[in-house]
């Protein structure tokens, strides 16, 4: 026993503080959330098991005329367009700045990255100013062009599209930086060999660059998918009312159930639905995008 502590005591001491907060504030909550998702939980009397045990999950999908299903659809639509656009824009921008001089590359990377350091909340708020029906910049442009004005974030038919557009127009800074790094590490001999074979710029890009940065693409697709499935701040601040249910997303539903209605069981159930969806999507993406190229 003494020898065990002499040998390993330090190691356990080193991980003790981190492990303690991790277990108390992450591990136990995850396990407990799973339990609560099968319970009716109240702050006063604690948890009671539901009958049937999956009742919260049933409620999650059926309450208020299936609003959670609408929320999932909205989230999927938002994520699909945002992730696709982010990846394409990131790939194109990093490819275009790659041949530039070092200082120009640094400039563009910084210009694209700058907004990303401010919180999603402030960015969303700024977009809500741009979308303001009366004095917003978007309608100013329409007025300049002589087009009819649009109620960008108060018209239920287009609010989700406006929010999605704001996410697409936020330059995918991480993608630009990571793609740049990946492109920088491709050996130049590959390009020289292709030039000898008479390949032009676009052929080289499509046949060498794009396949060789596939693992970065995979990482970014997973990263952006998770982030956009968890979208909240942007919606919370731009469309506080949800205009009908047109901009409800999975996390706004978790928030509403868990912390507005204090319906902990249903909120926890929806959080686990989110978890399972993210896990499934990530697994699919790994399968289809897994890189088999090594260099």
């Amino acid at each position: 026993m003494r020898r065990f502590f002499q040998k390993h005591g330090w190691s356990y001491l080193f991980i003790l503080p981190s492990m303690t907060t991790f277990i108390v504030f992450v591990f136990i909550p995850v396990v407990w959330a799973f339990i609560i998702s099968f319970q009716k939980y109240s702050l006063r009397s604690g948890g009671r098991w539901m009958d049937p045990f999956y009742a919260n999950y049933e409620t999650a999908f059926t309450q208020f005329g299936g609003i959670f299903i609408t929320a999932i659809q909205n989230t999927v639509v938002y994520s699909f367009f945002t992730v696709t656009a982010n990846i394409f824009l990131g790939l194109i921008l990093s490819s275009l700045i790659q041949p530039l001089s070092h200082s120009l590359r640094t400039f563009f990377r910084a210009a694209y990255y700058l907004p990303a350091v401010t919180s999603a909340l402030i960015i969303g708020m700024t977009w809500s100013f741009i979308y303001n029906a009366q004095w917003g910049f978007a309608n100013y442009l329409l007025r300049l062009l002589g087009l009819p004005l649009v109620r960008w974030i108060s018209d239920p038919d287009i609010a989700l599209a406006s929010v999605t557009a704001s996410a697409i127009l936020t330059i995918p800074a991480t993608a630009v930086v990571l793609y740049s790094a990946a492109m920088g590490s491709i050996p130049t001999e590959y390009y020289e060999a292709a030039e000898l074979d008479g390949a032009n710029g676009i052929q080289k890009w499509w046949h060498i660059t794009v396949p060789l940065i596939k693992s970065t693409t995979l990482y970014l697709v997973v990263l952006y998918s998770i982030a956009s499935f968890e979208v909240f701040e942007r919606i919370y601040i731009m469309v506080p009312s949800g205009v009908g249910n047109s901009t409800q997303t999975i996390v706004t539903q978790i928030y509403n159930n868990g912390f507005k209605d204090l319906n902990f069981g249903v909120g926890a159930a929806q959080a686990f639905v989110l978890f399972v969806m993210i896990a499934i999507i990530a697994a699919f993406q790994f399968r289809f995008l897994q890189s088999d190229v090594e260099y």
Partner: protein, 274 residues
């Protein structure tokens, strides 16, 4: 003179347009904040700032708690960052270099939670923090903030790449285990620690959803929560709202401009998302 090249023209216009799209929202926020606006902004957008601080004055006198919010955000971000740069490096070192019973089990336990959406934890976390009597205090943000495991993972990956000879030499010279960590490992970890510190600070400064849940009284808000509420409180005084949002964004922007290199390095190490 270089020959006119239409393809290059397209490329440059695309780069310039995307740069404008990237920077315009923040630029417009600041021009509005720096132009005296009482009530509704003009229909013709203000594109050149008047460099007046009138809105900011009204913000600081009109909202009772704006300075509190700033101090609260700073306190939380600093406290959590200090915790992580010290204890994550320590734990990362143990996981990277030491063999001890259960080390793999514990590390996998940490790793497996990385993909779980943080929202899953919020309901039990609310109950736990409430039981501890810490709701509506900064502890409600600091304690869960210290539980983020990304730093342990990052530091472990980094420390694994360091050679073990230096540690062994220090041990032969009679260094204690903590001495090895403090004098040998920690100094070598500086690049990773810089990335981790920036990541942690920015994440906590910008955090919104959990603070909205955990904080209640206006004087306890962090900046993001306070600024989000400005819109309810000062519905018609847009000057206050603009300056409140701008002032909340400013520290991170300055921080980025000063430490740009470390930010982008951190993104490459996988530490910073955006």
């Amino acid at each position: 003179m270089r020959r006119f090249n239409p393809a290059m023209m397209v490329v440059w216009s695309f780069l310039i347009v995307t740069t404008i799209i990237s920077l315009f929202p923040m630029y417009w926020l600041f021009t509005n904040a720096l132009t005296p606006i009482q009530g509704t902004p003009p229909l013709t957008p203000i594109l050149i700032p008047a460099f007046s601080f009138e809105n900011f004055e009204r913000l600081l006198t009109g909202t009772k708690h704006y300075t509190n919010w700033m101090i609260n955000s700073l306190t939380v971000a600093f406290a959590v960052t200090l915790w992580h740069i010290f204890f994550d490096t320590l734990a990362g070192y143990a996981f990277a270099k030491k063999k001890f019973p259960l080390n793999n089990v514990l590390f996998w336990m940490i790793l497996s939670t990385l993909m779980i959406p943080i929202h899953v934890t919020f309901i039990p976390l609310y109950i736990i923090i409430r039981e501890m009597g810490l709701l509506d205090t900064l502890w409600a943000l600091i304690l869960p903030g210290t539980a983020n495991v990304f730093g342990i993972f990052l530091m472990r990956q980094y420390i694994q790449t360091l050679p073990s000879e230096l540690e062994d030499a220090a041990r032969i010279d009679g260094c204690s285990e903590f001495g090895v960590f403090w004098h040998v490992i920690a100094p070598l970890c500086q690049p990773a620690i810089a990335a981790l510190a920036i990541f942690t600070f920015v994440r906590n400064w910008n955090d919104f959803l959990w603070p909205v849940i955990a904080l209640n009284k206006a004087q306890n808000y962090t900046l993001t929560v306070g600024v989000a509420n400005l819109q309810n409180e000062f519905m018609t005084d847009w000057g206050i709202i603009f300056s409140g949002a701008a002032l909340a964004a400013l520290p991170m922007i300055v921080f980025f401009l000063l430490f740009q290199r470390y930010f982008l390095e951190g993104v490459r190490m996988g530490a910073i998302k955006g």
